[in-house]
Point group: C2
Chain length 251, copies 2
DNA sequence: ATATGTGAAAGCGTTCACAGCA
DNA sequence: TGCTGTGAACGCTTTCACATAT
């Protein structure tokens, strides 16, 4: 069992393999993949505004990164810009969509229909971006059959059959922490290889399963750290003889 | 305006400053901070189970990292273990809490009381971890005064006064994307320096404001990328002359 | 004997700066 | 001239491996 990230997958590739899309996809850094998704969103907005061409500088500004990083990220997926001009927005959109695997539909199952599960089931951002919510599960028998966001809730015991039948490829865990590992195990045995985990638990999964986690408490605590750091810095600068306004108090 | 991360904060510190907590806090890598929050959660569970001592190996396993990384992370906050024995759980908990600034209360304001806002307002994980939800805001006048999760919703126009009065230090944006930047600007002018953004928008903020984002569509697309990569690899291995089971098909 | 704490090495990701092309 | 694409330099993060302490 590997925790949270498959480290080294042992797939054999021939040494003289051409640097084609397959090999290239493998080489894209995880951080760049996350940013490609952001570029794609910004570019989609551009298409709606009727923008046809964009420079790395402009796109980078809109995506909140610097232009060197943007160009490097785009270079991982190929060279689709025109020197001296910029990028064709639609061309870029279609290449990023291809690399991110968005030409294919990814059915989603949400497990745990509490506050968060409700919100996720009703969230319009998923279906509109090629991630239809195909199944909902909860352990509460009273919820079974009740439609949420237009989809009837199934009992958690039916995960295996329902996920197989509806070709679910992404499982979303929105259960209480105590239930998360058991739910995860069921999803994995149902053949789900990608999991988005909202429960504050470190899931143990086989190497071939990809887990991403969204942990609100952790996000809050990182923000808290920065609040504290700032307060300490302000105090520390005075202690070190320099006030926050740069005036030397103790030279 | 800097986007999403203050790069270089220009604070002057004297060169002979002692390597005390203040200086150390500044030196902790961002990645380590996120993991410290995870260690804290695992350790809190240990306390409840009555565990008093734990080794780096055990804690690392429970947190889903390797023990070298765990020890390095803990070394950033000081040396609180006992060689040949391990760490005192309670001692570690209190030191991590101090570093993360959790000895201080951080009031939270949630803006945008839709599906997600409701879920966040009702989410028990915040108050129980020192992040009381102190204010809720929405633009819909019909919602004003309606209590959600025990807190009455205020109108978005009152952000400045209410946030100041209730000493809000963290703002959570759960609005539609179109409204996010305007809400962010209001939070910032209300003195909020930390923002957790659920809206799929790149927020523009001054350097001194810390933004963290949770973007569900991006998470989904990263998972989609891995689905695609796996499919390509499986196909690619055959194309390259080697089947998935290692058998050479085209030597 | 056993497990921490940490320099040093290795690995990744970001930034620089400029060659190359329209 | 202007902007992309990218090798090289840089800095951050992880891993290694062992000195150090109980």
């Amino acid at each position: 069992m590997a925790a949270q990230r498959g480290e080294g997958d042992g797939v054999v590739t021939s040494p003289e393999a051409p640097a084609d899309v397959r090999e290239r996809a493998r080489a894209i850094p995880e951080a760049a993949v996350a940013r490609l998704a952001v570029y794609l969103r910004v570019l989609s907005g551009m298409v709606e505004q009727g923008v046809t061409t964009i420079s790395s500088e402009e796109l980078a500004g809109a995506a909140g990164v610097n232009s060197a990083k943007l160009r490097k990220d785009l270079s991982y997926i190929g060279s689709y810009g025109t020197r001296g001009v910029g990028y064709d927005v639609e061309v870029l959109v279609s290449h990023i969509e291809r690399i991110l695997g968005l030409t294919r539909k990814h059915s989603v199952a949400v497990v745990g229909i509490g506050n968060l599960g409700h919100a996720l089931a009703n969230y319009g951002g998923f279906p509109s971006r090629g991630f239809p919510v195909a199944a909902l599960f909860d352990i509460d028998p009273d919820l079974t059959g009740v439609p949420v966001g237009g989809i009837p809730v199934n009992h958690i015991d039916d995960i295996t059959s329902v996920c197989a039948e509806r070709e679910v490829s992404i499982g979303v865990i929105a259960t209480p922490p105590q239930a998360a590992q058991a739910v995860c195990d069921r999803l994995v045995s149902a053949g789900v290889q990608c999991i988005l985990n909202f429960a504050p638990v470190v899931l143990q999964v086989p190497d071939y399963v990809e887990v991403r986690k969204v942990d609100l408490a952790v996000e809050m605590q990182i923000l808290s750290f920065h609040v504290a750091r700032r307060a300490d810095e302000a105090a520390g600068d005075v202690v070190n003889g320099i006030g926050v306004d740069g005036v030397v108090i103790r030279p």
